[in-house]
């Protein structure tokens, strides 16, 4: 039973971490390699709140704002000139990741630090005591996914965004400001990365390089799922589940490799991944 809960909560964490990257990839066809750095940024926002002695809940909106603001600036300066050079955009955002990581190191030092969790203790689910915070993360992931679905399906901006995803040239021809859509998307995706950073840190710790392994897993999950939140949910459940199984039954080191290796093999056999 614990295994099932582990799988569900791990999938929820992976979903929260990957959603921002997926949104940027879906709309802009660009892989944001600074995603890991934005996750780290969000984690440090959570750390600041802890150090100031404020309620840990405050860390979540603060992390989102920090990520979104940073993403907005980055989109203007770095990403916009590289729209047509997708591989170069990967490189430039990777460079950004280095810069953000070094700035965080200069500001906070290199050491591993810990963040206070907003929820402590356990809940009893199906007769098992299980970490309440991990269960809360499932709700958080559902909220992120649901919020996005609402945004896409229920608002004018969402409609414009879907038009840009389907056919950017046509959307522009119809008077949709695709540059603005891209700008908002990137800021939103970065904000989500920051939020994810604040969400995951109570489970582990904070250090300037913490984002990189998350980036790798998120990257593979996004590539495998194409550009849909539903397939992303499916991919996180299947691959995240495999990761949990391998970690507990075989070895944690192999478990850490499960997602990247499985995703690469899935893509080799089926280039569309889980899409359609």
């Amino acid at each position: 039973m614990t295994l099932v809960l582990d799988i569900v909560t791990t999938a929820a964490i992976l979903f929260a971490v990957s959603a921002g990257l997926l949104v940027v990839f879906g709309v802009m066809k660009i892989i944001n390699f600074a995603h890991g750095a934005f996750i780290t940024l969000g984690a440090y926002a959570g750390l600041l709140v802890t150090q100031a002695g404020l309620s840990p809940w405050l860390g979540l909106p603060l992390a989102f704002i920090a990520g979104a603001a940073c993403g907005a600036v980055v989109e203007r300066i770095v990403v916009r000139p590289l729209y047509t050079r997708a591989l170069d955009a990967i490189l430039a955002t990777w460079g950004l990741g280095i810069i953000i990581g070094q700035l965080l190191t200069l500001g906070f030092g290199r050491e591993v630090q810990f963040v206070q969790s907003p929820i402590t203790g356990t809940l009893t689910v199906f007769g098992e005591a299980y970490s309440a915070y991990r269960l809360f993360l499932v709700l958080a992931a559902l909220a992120v996914g649901g919020g996005f679905a609402l945004l896409l399906e229920g608002t004018r901006l969402g409609l414009n965004t879907r038009a840009v995803i389907m056919n950017e040239d046509l959307a522009r021809g119809l008077g949709i400001d695709s540059v603005r859509v891209r700008f908002i998307t990137f800021a939103l995706g970065s904000g989500l990365a920051g939020l994810a950073g604040a969400l995951i840190t109570p489970l582990s710790s904070v250090d300037p390089a913490m984002g990189v392994p998350w980036l790798l897993n998120a990257f593979m999950l996004v590539i495998v799922s194409g550009a849909s939140l539903l397939t992303l949910a499916l991919a996180t459940l299947l691959l995240g589940g495999a990761q949990v199984l391998v970690s507990t039954l075989v070895s944690p080191i192999l478990g850490g490799l499960t997602i990247v290796v499985l995703a690469a093999i899935v893509l080799r056999l089926r280039p569309a991944g889980f899409a359609r």
């Binding site: 770095v78 430039a92 200069l106 990257f219 093999i265």
Partner: protein, 576 residues
Amino acid sequence: MKRMAAAALAGALVVAIAPFVLDGYTANVLVRSLLFGVLALSVDLLWGFTGFLTFGQSAFFGVGAYAYALTATQLGVDGFLLPVSLLLGLLAPAVLALLQGWLSFYHRATPLYASVVSLVVPVVVTQVLYSGGTFTGSSSGLTGYDMPDLSVPQWLWLCGGLLVLLTAAAAVFVRSDAGRLLVALRDNEMRCAFLGIPTTRLRIGLLIAMAAVAGLAGWLYAAYSGVVAPELAGFDLGTQAVIWVALGGRGTLVGPVLGAIGIDLTSAYLSGSLPFLWRLLVGLAFILVIVLLPQGLFPAIGRLILHRRRAAPVAPPALVPAATATARARGEALAVSDVARHFGALPVLSGVSLRAAAGELLSLVGPNGAGKTTLIRCLSDGTERSGGTVHILGQRLGSLPPHRCVALGLGRKFQTANVFDSLTVAECLRIARATIDRPSPWRRAGTLALPDAAMEVVQATGLDRLLGEEARLLAHGQKQALELAMVLALDPALVLLDEPTAGLTRSERLQIGGILRRLAQDHGMCLLLVEHDLDFVREISTRMVVLHQGRMVLDGTVEEVAASDLVRTIYAGEPH
């Protein structure tokens, strides 16, 4: 060529005197930087020339390093064991590269996927090294093993000499006729495949060679430094190598080498006093170069100093006639039976059967969406169709990939002009001949042999006066003619042409029309032509086939088809 020799000589000279002018610390670090230069060189050949952005060359460097460290700890490296260890340092990375290549490169693989796999490989290798227990030394790595008895100056000469040698060899190779293939792969992999070039095998082969080069650098690094750790194989070193190459200037060979040495040396000095600030500056410089100066620093500085003194253009080769299959079989060139193609539940083609003999000029007409281009695809790529059989010159098409289909005697001209933008006209034509006249890996041939038909197109359209011109600078009509000449350079028996006159002026159309007719009449080729313009088709075809909504509705002489009511209703859009 002279400039290259001078540069190599200057490099060798610098290496020779370096131990006498450098202090001990710098010389010590420089050996490592030189080996990183070798690593950067391998990244540049893959990324700068063939366009494969790889983050994973570090994996081969690390495997090479562990090959030395493991043989030294387990067996020792005395006497004959040293060459055994070296062999392992070359072979182990090569085998890993074969695996990576098989995963990364296949028919219809995307460049992004190859980059994804290149990220996975170092992550996996590092984890394997971490979990190797006492055998690999886990996270602390291996140290204290036997090292060759060389002094630091000797190491400098060895590694510096190797770097100069490899850079010079790479420079000779990329300028040779065979080396242009790398650029052709980067510019247009599909066109390469449809010229009969085994692109997948080429890419895997190059990756294996570059893995061995990176492995050699790692092997030397382990032998020199006496320490190996899993980080040597890591993704971080792999991305650093990409940064060196980008800053130095991708596709310039010397730039990436200088980039690696410069950055690694400086960071050795600054990592003591300003470790984080230094990485910050490198990251900043990296972004600036990617966004503002994609060609990198080395070419930019070169332009500033040398001021318009670009290398003299190489004289284009002289055109000579090539031996052709003079006695072309007069038999059946193409036999198609019951071919179908559907995407999911949506049928695009069904039940198409037709035959064509040598000397025929068969036109395929029909409104937009009739399935004409889809049919051409099914005939030139065995993996495309969903059902039916295709025979080219009596040989089964089966499910062969494009380059094998071309080997059966087929040539395909695409709808939009499909050439190699950064190659010259002569180089494009030579790439087209690559499967017939094996290009030299170290020099440029003085002549270019073309079969009669290709020669005729080149001369009739004035391309023979533009042999040294880069293809991207050609006018639209000239590009179309160049692609046709490239296809004919294969000396095909069956030529598939998808709207060869699209976007051409009236006089150009007439010229191409005349050439096509002669290809069928005088050269005995079988031509299958997709066209919209009924008048043009009527003038040149020997037979016409009408496709409508994915089915063949007519197959007959020009007169029969042109006179039929069906064609009139289809083209006039009347209900039927």
